[in-house]
Symmetry: C2
Subunit: 457 residues, 2 copies
Amino acid sequence: MEKNIPYKTYLEESEMPKQWYNVRADMKNKPAPLLNPATLKPMTAEELGVVFCDELVQQELNTTDAYIDIPEEIRDFYKMYRPSPLVRAYCLEKALGTPAKIYYKFEGNNTSGSHKLNSAIAQAYYAKKQGLKGVTTETGAGQWGTALSMACAYFGLDCKVFMVKVSYEQKPFRREVMRTYGASVTPSPSETTNVGRKILAEHPGTTGSLGCAISEAVEVAVSSEGYRYVLGSVLNQVLLHQSVIGLESKAAFDKLGVKPDIIIGCAGGGSNLGGLISPFMGEKLRGEADYRIIAVEPASCPSFTRGKYAYDFCDTGMVCPLAKMYTLGSGFIPSANHAGGLRYHGMSSTLSQLYDDKLMEAVSVEQTKVFEAAQQFARIEGILPAPESSHAIRVAIDEALKCKETGEEKTILFGLTGTGYFDMVAYQKFNDGEMSDYIPTDDDLAKGFAGLPKVDL
Amino acid sequence: MEKNIPYKTYLEESEMPKQWYNVRADMKNKPAPLLNPATLKPMTAEELGVVFCDELVQQELNTTDAYIDIPEEIRDFYKMYRPSPLVRAYCLEKALGTPAKIYYKFEGNNTSGSHKLNSAIAQAYYAKKQGLKGVTTETGAGQWGTALSMACAYFGLDCKVFMVKVSYEQKPFRREVMRTYGASVTPSPSETTNVGRKILAEHPGTTGSLGCAISEAVEVAVSSEGYRYVLGSVLNQVLLHQSVIGLESKAAFDKLGVKPDIIIGCAGGGSNLGGLISPFMGEKLRGEADYRIIAVEPASCPSFTRGKYAYDFCDTGMVCPLAKMYTLGSGFIPSANHAGGLRYHGMSSTLSQLYDDKLMEAVSVEQTKVFEAAQQFARIEGILPAPESSHAIRVAIDEALKCKETGEEKTILFGLTGTGYFDMVAYQKFNDGEMSDYIPTDDDLAKGFAGLPKVDL
């Protein structure tokens, strides 16, 4: 086995990115703008400023500047847990007997357990800079809430997290991590907001959903002096911050003199995938290089592979702007059977446009196959992966096995977004052989699509 | 703030240690040998070989070779999660307003969550090399059991873990991680061993102890064809493997041109502390340099600061050899109130001898103060530390604050042995203000000392 390439490549501190890359600047077809649901006109900076911090609004609307400086305060925080390693999966290659060369960018080596911290610290920084008291947000599995709690603790901001009730109850430890960082955590839907009370009245006993928690967090942000709302995925600003993943990956590959053929990432709202692929996609858009780019989503929540490209609500309460995206409808909720994350009904508009322009592919995978890959990876590479990340592992292994058949020595890069240490309930189900698959029927999907807003532009 | 020193220093793969360092070779007063409890004669290699792998027995008895090669297979595994970073705690220094320079060696960036993997992979390797089917062990908090499960999965060895019953029940997620790696996990005491049945008959309803789980694991190892017992701390061989921590730290400091003044580590059985300090202690023993070395232990289990230096049993069932160590007596069990780890009644004989020779200091700290330091560190440095590691954080902060008073610019190194992601029950107690301190009375200690074996050499 050739080993001139180290197992792990870390950039030097001085080689870390000083600017984020904004892929929209290189897109010929820009992602569709957010719309005001009342007027169906594009949201103005002023309108967005009610919900989001001013500087983040500018980033959200900026489709022209390819590079945006990363403030020194954020770069200093990045230095505490970045650069993340670009890992050559020698042991996995050997176990699979594949001629493929497999690399992964590992974002799980920080207490939030995932890449979410990359955007959380940026959003907290701009909130602090604007002189705000605090921020509100929602969290499902808890990775985003944890990341934001850490970022807010660092900058001394108040942090109010609405946590999907079922996760609040099933993941008390995630909740405790957030509390340790000083955040307040409220199970959603709650009696503390109008939208929460309304949802509870209509659906007594509901265990909540991400869309519903978003509605509550937004309501509190817009009705509280000195607060704004922050979101951990889907938005363009988030993809911008997450570009640090791809930029570091590319810089490390350049140092090694390696060029990937296939780039694979899991996709829920698109924050990890968008960040990982951005500089590579930039080269592709500028005609400088070609890469096969694959989004992996769960078969139980197949926004790309079975969704519609349409304007839709981002939240259940319909208080947020409309976004054009691949979506299953804001009323779509994946089966409770689905333990593997990536449950959001929609998808980043930037990625949606790139997918619609056939610049990337998408595949869906079933959860038992995902956990098989997760277990295999854990035993071979020594990292217990998050269920979300394991979607990418599944497809990376599948592609590597295809190379074994064809004899091709392709170079595969996948994003290992995080660790599964707080997902052991799902692993236990798998270990006990009690995990099954769920694929929505066309009828299930039709119900979600029926709730799409009628937008005629 | 000077920042010519990076936040994190990683060695290159080529700079990683190729040999472990055996501090006993440089000790004038060697640690006392293990004794056969029946004959009170030093255990022979043959006798030890019934319990331990042959090559590990050689390492256990080797007090003369300063350097022992790390086999390539182990170095390859190390490359998957090592080198660990030597971190400059700029943010903590700033928050404390201290002129001290604080560094920590962070061993938590692997799925076992701690430094334990460094010895687990070595012990699994030698078991595999000897052609064994599997190994048995005990685990308390679960870090060692997890590490060993990972190592056994990597080499395809069977792994039987006896987990202290109270942990088995309170930490189902740790158990699931081990199961994910293919280990079998049995709550101890169990009905599967003679010693387990005896303890259950004498103490019905007992929630178990580490000493009791050790007895069960040893019984299964010696009575099963193709099995040996492995232990994650206390033993000389473990300190040898853990020397990789100190060797990497020293190599990184040398690269930076920095020399620490104070070295701080938490001490339960001594594996982390022994590993961290070994090359520095070597310099001290050889008269090449001087360092202030501080062992930190919980006030509720104060082996060094209030224990006796005497021969004692390593386990409750008294099936193991006798070791001379600072001990509270094998019958001593810390209050159930104590959540902060480091509960073992004894201490590595190597460290005990060094302490007795006044080559290092020891302090004990109360658990609420430890968790205050843990929370402060988490919020400032972004890593949620293990309760065990937080003992070292506590004293590092205290020493840095002393520097603030005196104006001394001391360089402090402490070992951050792991993360607290599976310790959120303890953090919850702290967050809820329900944590209190426990310090054993002299009478409590007298009961433990009364059980010390009468050894007259």
